[in-house]
């Protein structure tokens, strides 16, 4: 499950679509049952997508914005051995990963 409100997802088994609550530009987005399909849908890896715009601002770099979203951390879960509960594992950003490697050296 993605954490970014701009990212929607498709259930790989049922094909059910979970729409995001914001478009790529950050505008609120809500799709009701009878609404027409969004005009523009940018695909992301792993069955995720972003609602795009027909008109982007002149200075808006769509590809850069999508590239940034492709690097979005995902919510990871793991079982805490001490309690047996499933907990959310904080995502490791690329910068934090670099720091971890430096410290290990």
């Amino acid at each position: 499950m993605a954490t970014n409100p701009k990212i929607g997802s498709v259930n790989p088994v049922t094909g059910e679509i979970a729409y995001p609550t914001e478009t790529l530009l950050g505008k609120p987005y809500a799709r009701e049952f009878n609404d027409p399909a969004p005009a523009v849908v940018h695909n992301l890896p792993n069955g995720q997508f972003v609602i795009g715009e027909v008109f982007y601002p002149r200075d808006f770099d769509v590809n850069a914005a999508l590239a940034a979203l492709r690097g979005e951390p995902k919510v990871l879960t793991a079982v805490d051995n001490s309690t047996g509960e499933t907990v959310i594992v904080p995502a490791v950003t690329p910068d934090a990963a670099v720091e971890t490697v430096k410290k290990a050296k």
């Binding site: 498709v10 790989p12 049922t14 094909g15 009878n34 027409p36 969004p38 069955g47 008109f55």
Partner: protein
């Protein structure tokens, strides 16, 4: 059933064409898509009618010796205009087909439009109009009729009319012939085999309206989301059409789940056109 009664006006889909006559959904810069993106046509919800005028045809005949001799049909010189009637003023549809922008940026609580009456390069459009198609056994089928052209409309006005549809908006479709079918295949390779490898009309009769969409490949993503879920998950070419760069590509689709097709990624900028019977498009209001 080969003979169907066409009635009603259910769905109108509108897509812009790029310079190669591929439909590119509502992308207003159809020659500059973003890879990895689905572009969906606009569904016009307030459709009232889609009516054709007669073509102008040329002919020559011989009258000699005071007798009627041979007559030759010399072809169609003008395609008849199509009159599209909608019951409401839809500014998104209006802006898309007339080539202006609905301005909600200048004032967020206002919607501002113009008519772009001086435009010199009208947008090239693919329109898909769906009517009921009823055969002798009354099976509730649909015929989706695709045409290519540019649109104009009359200036806005209003009146004191009451009752049903007191102020319809009328658009005129100036048709042209296309070298590609609605799913991107060249007419020169199409099974319908028209003379001149181009045509102005393409009709698909099916159990539901044919829902059109375009996906521009990014070379890596292995799924594409269609705007409306197809009624069938069939993907071998019997019901749902998948074409890539104008060539049939059913082998590139390994499954359909709801509105999502699992595909074999092609190359970046490949253009996928999908055309599937979808009852879900009838739910749009």
């Amino acid at each position: 059933m080969t003979s169907n009664l066409h009635t009603g006006a259910y769905v109108l889909q509108v897509a812009l064409l790029n310079d190669n006559n591929y439909p590119m959904g509502q992308l207003v810069t159809p020659n500059s898509p973003v890879n990895g993106t689905s572009y969906n046509p606009l569904v016009v919800p307030s459709l009232v009618g889609f009516e054709a005028a007669d073509d102008t045809s040329e002919e020559a005949s011989s009258f000699g010796g005071q007798k009627k001799r041979g007559t030759r049909d010399l072809g169609v010189s003008e395609l008849g205009d199509i009159t599209i009637t909608v019951s409401e003023f839809d500014d998104v549809f209006d802006a898309l087909v007339l080539g202006y922008t609905v301005d909600t940026a200048t004032a967020a609580n206002l919607r501002m439009t113009s008519r772009n009456v001086n435009r010199t390069r009208p947008r090239k459009l693919l329109l898909g109009f769906t009517a009921a198609a009823t055969p002798v056994n009354s099976t509730p089928n649909f015929a989706t009729i695709f045409m290519w052209g540019t649109l104009r409309r009359t200036a806005l006005g209003s009146n004191q009319g009451t009752g049903r549809n007191p102020n319809n908006r009328v658009y005129t479709l100036k048709k042209f012939v296309s070298t590609r079918t609605p799913f991107g295949q060249l007419f020169s390779a199409a099974g319908v085999n028209p003379d001149g490898d181009s045509d102005d009309e393409y009709v698909i009769t099916a159990s539901a309206p044919m829902s059109l969409s375009t996906y521009v490949d990014d070379g890596s993503t292995t799924s594409l989301v269609m705007p409306y879920a197809p009624d069938s998950t069939e993907h071998a070419g019997a019901t749902n059409l998948f074409f890539k760069n104008g060539t049939v590509n059913h082998t590139g689709v390994s499954g359909i789940s709801s509105a999502t097709a699992t595909i074999t990624a092609g190359s970046a900028a490949d253009i996928w056109n999908t055309l599937v019977p979808s009852s879900a498009i009838l739910d749009v209001i």
